[in-house]
Point group: D2
Chain length 413, copies 4
């Protein structure tokens, strides 16, 4: 243990407490520090100017939430986990996002990779993180990888880090609410912690915690519609995706960029190693966007300028899809906009977020209530409110396009 | 006026309200958008991980604080300013930081310029801001420049934007407290607004507002010692300054950098124009620092790595300066560290911040209380608490150096 | 107008602003001051120790909410109400609870009267309130009475004071959450105000306010289940009701109380006048309960002791009512408890609260959404979440009885 | 230990946790429940309408603050106190105010007793509290009495409950700020807890906690001037004192009150026992004031009416005392007001509150800083800010009198 507990002042949890030297060492690795250069909410700062917080802050928060839950379990004698097991859980919480790249959603779509894979590589290949873990225990990287991939044998720990009621979500809802300033993301975190019980390889909720969970899921519901699916945020992500697409296409056409520094060529060829990936932070991307405003390719230059100067695409709601996309493509083409780069139809739920899914086959474990008679019931069976938002498909299609086209595109209501 | 009032959700003021189209247009200029890429608190995020908010958020906040004060003045009939005058004040509030560059304090020290000068150039030269202002009223850029330079004829407006109790400070204290999470920066903003009165070309405070002002100045006092002068923040700024100094020295030695893109050469030569300056944001600098880790110059490479991976300089407190610097220089040299780049002695108050200065000849107007008998009294004459922190010089010298030297440097207590 | 605006520091709205002398005079009447001696949440302080705030605080809050809404309507030009009309609305907001008696729910049930009737008498009979109103405008008492009784011609004003989205509810949800400390009662009040529109004699909500209304109704839903229907609160109210019932029965049996001061005899006879009613505050009732602990009637003495010393009735949940009440009555009788005073079966929704009712024939106007096409739609037609809680009947029967009986009463699960 | 930890929802500390059955039993005694009928801030609700919280809430809060500090001491191994010692501290924290009577300050002044004496009697005589304590350990009442009287051998426990930085003050500053709504009473409680150390029979503060203590003492300073010494609160207390004085005088004159129930006669004779005292709560007093409005003695009737209907005395500030009191007495007499009951000169610091006293001979132990060299230094020696408010005597004399006299009394400025 550290001679003296270290604390970080935190806007959400007041303080984040670190006692174990491994956690301290992990925080000080260059891979963890790199997360300071990647925003938690991607381009959302264009919609909510306060949304400028990084994945570094969030990672500390997930660690702290996990620490608090485990500490409650221990105080009440619900678990008898070894120190190694607890340290595994805390490390996994801290490191679960270590493989995130810049503006992940847009980036990964165009370049076809998953940040989860990079997380596993960061854990196991030649990194400071990997070294710190191995110094403590040689198979720790492998075990954390299992937790991240949800194959680890102690299911309760997997549940803590990744389920429909995990430390990840609990931190980001509270944190994103604090930094954007919206009042929707709050719920009674202390009460939820008190209601959680490890049971049969899962984390379940005591029956009289149902209302607290309802409040948590309503916070999630509101944050999704108000913040995460906000059309202005979607618009900025779409432009970014179009930029990456254009760069990729130009590269394939042997276009010569006036600036095209490492590791861009490897990114294009799909053969980045862990050290190449390390450089890819949001500073790097934003600097490139700024430089590319001066590229001679008019599409790339224009899109970069729109993104950086926040001249985002406008949108119209599409209630009836039939033929709309073709019509819009034609109309844009006529006005000189290549629809491949200037048009997108999107349905908000085509996204790595979801509100709440009750099905068992969902990739994240549903929330289970333990009744007074010790039966487990999936929560939407017990709450009309949760049932009403469970698996919700309320979204409508949005058509995104340049502001110049607003007058020219007619969408039937 | 805009058909419908625009609102921005804000974590500090709840909402920021925009009614006038000029304000809306100014917010949408690329110069204002650029402020999203410059952090409000420079390198403080290394001390308080939440301190990642930008000057863009703060600029909106200063606008809103100014709007609220003017609106209170109007509602109560304290002023009869024309619409033009009000718009001038609001625009000046919004634009007062428009010339800030990346990590201003370190940057300006090494390259010898002042962001105030760039603010004036941003207002008056060929920019979107300038164009928007001129479209509304041809001499508006010039008038805002006068407000920024404190030469404008209506002293009350100058006081609002720049004095010891101005909209700038009121916003940043509240904002920095919210984002860092410290609980020291709060005070009763609504009550202060209610106690302000324009009087004889100044903004003064009604006598029964003294306690509210005490609370405001104590918030300032606490924020300065807890946040702004924090030695960890100072340490990271010192490394950054050393990096800039090394780059400058290498350039003068005709060193060939493997990456040295525009506008770096002009920056070195001191002949940047407004378009060069525009590119200089924190993404640009951070990307360079990352690239320079691979420079062959060992000092530059090492310093960049220390900064980005947060291996900051350690410090010791120096009570007796006599001979210490020479001793430290020698000791570092012996161990292979060039003291020019690896050593710094600093006194916290050598900084553009101050706690509170009561003297009349200070560049910012002191806070004046209006007694029930309509006399004006400088506030430290009325409050022992304020007197106790006024012009405070409690700081002690800190010596900063690489962690490797901690054991080797002995500083007498 | 008052020479200087008066302000009250308020824990919910920060400040409450009073400009008009009539409002100031009304606040200073003895009838308004009497509301300081009547708690907003009756016996809820036995469940949430912070719930000790009075109807006085709440009445100021309803006034402030109404003031803010009307001020928003004026600023945006949505209404062109005369000063008289606005003052009527503000006065009605302030005075809407002026007729509330001590522990209203229990009290009114036993003694068969309605606080609404007393509100009307307070407005129109010989009171300081009535005098203040008449001094300003002779028919003002009558008009406010019409607002309270929902017969006033300007339906928008009635809606403001009394509907499913009125100033009353908006204040009490926020206030009760603040004082109890629960985190469920918050919603984005500023945004709701911005979304409200007076339309065709009603207050309706702009379509893009739906999510804010969902959050408001979920706050209401949570507060109802967590606070207002809490079984411990119900238990204390039941004991109080039993006490009043016993006193009434003893009076009818010509029992001689050792203390039975004015206006108790008139209360028993049902002929209190407005001055008698004025004396009936919660101090008066609590003092009586304390004195009655020493009555020789064992039931009255025992019940008063249970209430004051918080030895409340316990409860069991009854899923199947058939025969339970008879069984419980018999069991209590056998153990020496008169079931008339020691037993109660209750269904939480038999209460003057409700969660949300969408039916048109409900006594409070439902919440209407105004679509972009200017159609009005009842909100539960637009929101699955609201539909799921609308007219909810989730309650189960609770059987309340003395703790001594817990072991002896067997309720099938 | 209780089978399951009990929690109370609390507006200040979020939750209050009870694990030990003795604490639970003590909370459920009728003497603790009685504190629900005595307000924490006496008549302050006439100034801040939210100040309606009771000594019951505060007592739970002091318990929780003490529990948190001890828990931090244990976690960090600073103390090795036995379970008995800890339970003693927690019980003392919970019970420290058990002897408070209604509107203590006014009441005690007139009837010459001290609530501390009643606290000791509540602990040791025939009460439920005493019984619960003795059941657990026969000498516990005596030991708690020693803690309350500051004679207990373990000085650290005395310091926790009663010193210039005790659990009592920390809770009431935070609580009174929350309920009144003022923003001055907040400080970083978690950090202070982390900086406290038991040392040589005292609780001292680590050197780098100085800023946190400054913030705490500034909160105290602000609360004293803004809330506790507020002239409107003083005015209402003065009227109350005058009422009690008049009742006492009338009793001595053999006046016959139309209502004068137990235990008033014993109160007048000064021979109340613990059961008489129990009945004396604020309901009892308020009911009497209401009844006494109808007394035939015009002074008593008038004063009660002024108090209940909030027609408080007005005040003027007296800079030069010479002859003023005599002048005011004469002037009042001429206008028919008996100055004994209608006039008061007061200096705010003649009160059981103080801001901060550094002297060693003060009845509360001063705050000591432990330097890095393990020396103890009284804090005002280390902080100019604290020195500036230490022993402050800024108050001015206030003269209180009926509003009708405002025009007739001329006080030189």
């Amino acid at each position: 243990m550290l001679k003296e507990e270290k604390v970080f002042k935190d806007a959400v949890h007041q303080y984040i407490y670190v006692k174990h030297p491994l956690i301290w060492d992990l925080i000080n690795t260059k891979e963890m520090q790199r997360l300071r250069r990647i925003r938690q909410l991607g381009t959302s700062f264009y919609t909510f100017h306060g949304a400028e917080h990084s994945r570094f802050s969030h990672s500390l928060g997930v660690y702290e939430v996990t620490r608090k839950i485990i500490s409650s379990f221990q105080r009440n004698g619900y678990v008898a986990w070894s120190e190694e097991e607890i340290l595994l859980a805390l490390s996994a919480a801290l490191l679960h996002d270590i493989g995130h790249g810049p503006f992940s959603h847009s980036f990964e779509t165009v370049f076809h990779f998953h940040h989860e894979d990079w997380t596993c590589r960061m854990l196991c290949e030649d990194t400071e993180v990997s070294k710190a873990l191995r110094t403590y225990q040689s198979d720790l990287p492998e075990k954390i990888k299992q937790v991240v991939q949800k194959t680890y044998e102690n299911g309760s720990i997997v549940s803590l880090i990744s389920s429909q009621l995990d430390a990840d979500r609990m931190d980001y809802l509270l944190r994103d609410a604090h930094f954007t300033g919206v009042n929707y993301g709050t719920f009674d975190f202390d009460r939820i912690v008190r209601m959680l019980r490890p049971y049969d390889g899962k984390i379940v909720v005591k029956e009289n915690g149902v209302h607290a969970i309802e409040a948590y899921l309503m916070a999630r519901y509101q944050m999704y519609w108000q913040v995460y699916f906000h059309p202005v945020t979607r618009s900025s992500e779409i432009i970014l995706r179009k930029i990456f697409q254009r760069v990729k296409d130009l590269y394939l056409m042997d276009y010569t960029f006036h600036i095209f520094i490492d590791p861009l060529p490897k990114l294009m060829e799909g053969n980045m190693d862990i050290h190449d990936y390390f450089i890819l932070d949001e500073s790097f991307i934003q600097m490139l966007l700024m430089q590319w405003i001066n590229e001679k390719d008019p599409i790339l230059s224009d899109l970069c300028s729109r993104f950086l100067h926040r001249h985002l695409f406008k949108y119209k709601i599409v209630h009836e899809k039939e033929g709309i996309l073709e019509y819009a493509q034609e109309t844009l083409s006529k006005r000189g906009f290549d629809p491949k780069y200037y048009l997108e139809m999107e349905y908000p739920l085509d996204m790595p977020y979801d509100i709440y899914q009750s099905e068992k086959d969902h990739k994240k474990q549903p929330i289970l209530i333990m009744t007074k008679e010790d039966k487990l019931i999936e929560i939407s069976k017990r709450s009309e409110v949760i049932k009403s938002i469970s698996g919700e498909k309320r979204g409508v299609h949005h058509l995104y396009f340049p502001e110049e086209m607003v007058q020219h595109l007619t969408i039937p209501k």
